[in-house]
Symmetry: D2
């Protein structure tokens, strides 16, 4: 059986997922066969060009024609078009893979999660938190599950970029509250919250995030519109920070910024437990820094050995992987779940859980006080 895949979105994320699908047969021969069937978008000529380059059979400008025709639907558009097509697909019984954050508002995210729940367990609805699929992160997860770090005391996650540090950097939909929901909080913070939930969210580790205190800030209020003689207001945060408390008492600090001069894509996770500590940065994604057992300091581990997660599919030890490989792993897992009709994680429920935390951070910022999650 070959899965016909329909994909909405043909820019950065469209490219990343199309590439991932294209690479499965050579490196994950047990993945289900995939046919890149139809690419969905609005600008027809750009769409045609992308379909050709990404290896799609056809194009469509109306997702409504697609969602019940294909075996799987990928929703890779901007945040404000996540909900309607995804819900329609799920209602048609079509598995959905949706980019993060799930939706621009908590309410919409809830509707999406409901639609996923109604579709049933054999219709996977995945939220594309690809950083769960970094081998070093999966390796860290193994260690945490095995109890190697002991009781979790401190958790830090920050995601630093600098592409808005120039006040003349152009306005885009990512600066608009209507279209994007939020700024650094939703775009970057969603990744951080999901990654921490994945790593320490288990009951016998830190558990879920219980309370949050948030802080949002916009440094530049208006930005020039490309090709226009005008500026448009920035209605989302340029940066956020948050303090969080986990169910089992661990303390957390979160932060993201698009104003961190010199940091390009620096998603850093740090965890201290009673028995060990670990650190990870996306800019050195093949490495995990680890303290455990009798270690006196951080051990810099190149997570590229044959028995490391996913590595047997690739190259010999020390032949490092890149950012895009996370999409291959993620697509492998999601498409396998589709083929087998089993659940996939991170699910829409995970997407919603992350969104609840982000919404609480935003609410906390508005009210100037801690917010307890229900």
């Amino acid at each position: 059986m070959t899965l016909d895949v329909g994909v909405l979105g043909y820019r950065f994320m469209g490219n990343a997922h199309a590439n991932a699908m294209a690479r499965l047969p050579m490196f994950f021969p047990d993945a289900p066969a995939v046919n890149r069937s139809v690419l969905v978008g609005r600008d027809e000529s750009a769409l045609e060009e992308a379909a050709d380059r990404f290896g799609f059979d056809s194009v469509a400008t109306d997702w409504a024609d697609v969602v019940d025709e294909v075996d799987v639907f990928y929703n890779l558009g901007p945040n404000h078009v996540h909900a309607e097509p995804s819900i329609a697909a799920l209602e048609a019984g079509t598995p959905v893979f949706c980019e993060k954050p799930l939706a621009p508002t908590l309410e919409t995210a809830e509707e999406m999660a409901d639609a996923a729940a109604n579709a049933g367990e054999d219709v996977p609805a995945g939220c594309a938190f690809n950083y769960r699929f970094v081998p070093a992160i999966q390796y860290a997860k193994r260690l945490l599950e095995a109890g190697d770090l002991g009781e979790i005391r401190h958790v830090r996650g920050r995601y630093l970029q600098d592409w808005l540090v120039d006040p003349e950097a152009p306005w885009s939909w990512r600066n608009d509250a209507e279209l994007a929901g939020s700024g650094a909080l939703g775009d970057l913070g969603a990744h951080t919250v999901d990654l921490l939930r994945f790593l320490v969210g288990d009951d016998d580790l830190a558990g879920e995030i219980d309370r949050v205190s948030g802080h949002l800030r916009t440094f530049v209020d208006d930005r020039p519109v490309p090709g226009e003689d005008d500026t448009r207001p920035v209605t989302v945060d340029d940066a956020y920070s948050a303090q969080v408390e986990f169910e089992n008492g661990a303390m957390g600090s979160l932060e993201a910024s698009r104003f961190a001069t010199g940091h390009k894509n620096d998603h850093t996770i740090e965890i201290h437990g009673s028995e060990g500590s670990l650190r990870f940065s996306l800019e050195r994604l093949n490495e995990l820094e680890l303290i455990r057992d009798g270690n006196r300091g951080y051990e810099t581990i190149l997570v590229t050995d044959a028995d490391d997660p996913y590595i047997d599919h690739w190259w010999p030890p020390g032949h490092v992987l890149g950012w895009e490989h996370t999409f291959v792993h993620e697509n492998y897992e999601f498409l396998s779940a589709v083929a087998e009709g089993t659940e996939f994680e991170p699910s829409f429920a995970d997407g919603l859980a992350a969104q609840r935390v982000l919404a609480a951070i935003e609410e906390s910022d508005e009210r100037g006080e801690w917010i307890t999650l229900e």
Copy 2:
């Protein structure tokens, strides 16, 4: 003229300051001559032994006999004995150098600052925030003052240690609210707040800290008392975190812990400005990591060149300094101010300013909301 110095406290800090005074003549020949005159403490035999080792002429068990006899009074005792002797000394017109944090409570710190103000400008009252005197920090200060980092956007400070991670680590006065005031917050956070005030507190940089949201936590509630068959309650925080907002809009994240497995004395500062970024860790105190000008990434600078702050007093480039050298620099500056009857910074007013921030963090934690500093 030789300054007769009286020192209260003969343990860790007594040793560090006595060593600093002893080293001045060889490396800072223009420092005022100092006579280590009298060492003050309660346990006479330990005191005698220390006085002998640290090179003091005599000992005393009552500070009241000392504070108006000496030319300078160093108060290096536990926090709860900072106020009374320091105030007495200042009332007697004796310059005072007091360890940090200034006092266990904000009220007491205010009394001490008042006493310093009343003593007049020619009676220096210094608060021993030694990390201002790390050459790499002074070099960072130069760059910040010159505007090399542009507008300050993000400030991070964290101080990580791990000496309490073992629940069987013994109880000490540092775990007691009466004696210590607070835990990681006062002991470590005081350093962080002062260092950030020093680096970015100027009006044309971030300015003072305006609002805070704090979080304190005690992970282990009781600890064994050394030599006893009993435990005593831990009544201070094991760790704190805080979000802060500076006058000019920069965002800050602060944190300290005694439970950060594998970190021994990791006081880290990170600053992002519109034109550059910098990072510093006390565990590599000879280094400053810097982005400026056309830099694309952090430049790791060994701050040991002849024209770096204080370095001409020491060794050739690359012959690194240690932690204790900060005390030599600090003592040099303070004793020079005493000899010249001029002001010294960090002063009691700086000590109080830091304490206001710490108190606001504590209050914020209790009330679960942001606190604006007056």
Copy 3:
């Protein structure tokens, strides 16, 4: 026009090149179209399986049937089968891309280079030194060519692996002088010599390597044969080191080992010039450490910006690439040269030049004295 490609070798290198060809259309749309036509090997069933997985139309067990049928011939077999098929292909006017080192002996390498010269400039004969195509290396090359490092004084190159540190690690053709020519010297040292020639070999930089003093060593003399109850002798070096002198007076140190415990694929280059220095390690291949201009220390540059070499074909800044991307770049350049009938570098002449250095190192080791290259 679509190029029909024949590939000899279907293991590690076969996989790496097949993958590279498969990825060109999506990321390098101006690359010539390529048809993975025929895969050549001896073990038919393994070959069929590989052809299926790597996307080849057909298989062949005799390269002689292939070399004049295809538009391009890739020779990715073990070193001892590099010469005959490559020469046959070139004699048939078929462009050849051959893995490194060019041949197990200097004589054979010379024959191959002669064949390439005879084939003419419009029949590219490339030697697959893929590390020239790391973006950070290409960026370093730009800086060196621009004179940013000044006069070259010191050059270091070392390639450290550890897969033979266990004396029970199995015997393979790589341990046999007949089949492999040499050990760490040819396998790893060839990369190092080529990379240094590429980076500093220009006349106005260090120039070519002039004299060498070499040292080879085998630490474990016999190794178990997999599936047999026997051992076979190791007749190649486990490690080599060399001192070299460049034409313009720079000093060099080379080294490679398969016994460097904990190093997986650590190919490190270091260069000191009168105006700057640089460092690179393959284990962090997205980074270049650089001193230039007014820098006081190494700047850690993430070479993933849009204007960095090859990066505009891939992802946004900070979305790091992996080891395999070097093959995509290399195949893009080589296949473009084939389509246009232009020269490609590194050529067989470059392969031979590297081999001359390796042979001189070996001869120097045998004779215990410096060898001057002609």
Copy 4:
């Protein structure tokens, strides 16, 4: 009993040793009492100033008046004045501590070692290789002695500085073969050879250095003389490299340069054994990077714990030491040996052993072939 110490040399090394002696009572209370008795030099006014600052009772311009009057004689002058006063002192039965390298020529070094042997075991003659006394190095030695790294395969040592990279940097005695013996080789290489002998020289580790192949080079032939309108020739090496073979088969690479742009005092040691690896750099002298046991990568250890070598004399964990502390440890050990009339290592015999290696490297460079040490 108090030891009267006479010191020849009052510049950099005079300062470093005077400081070390001054610090012993406070931190090493069981060290013998020391009286800085007489400082020896030629320029009387500079000498008086130095004696005052370094805490000496008196000065002398003729060492011959001093060597048999004092209890210990420190020879800290330039290399060409090491021999005569040291031999005279030893003949008078006075223990000698001499800076490295022992002498400008091998012959002179042999005479000095003979004098030390004739003086007898209760008259310690030490060669001041201070880097043996870095806590991280002593800790590494412990691990090596315990066999934690297994059989030693590779040893690397390099010492990089950049103070001559500017061709206008002034001429000094260090550039003159008569006065200094050699350049980077003797000044820096002596440290490296001694440190490697200390770390892996034991019979059950790598053993002594057996054979060497050396390379010396002078990049700038003449340098301006300060205060003169003239230049003087540089008659020593600006840099050297060497390959070495140890008795038990380990391979070594050595190197030093005064032309390594951006490196200030970067003395780096790297060792690979069958069971582990380690790395050390003097620019981060509180750290040891270590692979052992089940480690997968280098563990960065801050060697400042209470049970680390010498640390119990200083500060709590994480309160880092500096370069000068190595002199305190070295003086403690040497003066204790003097007081007890026991042997001290590194001895003149160790100084001679290092010098034999350096001389062989120089000879190898001249003859263009490997030299076997006898």
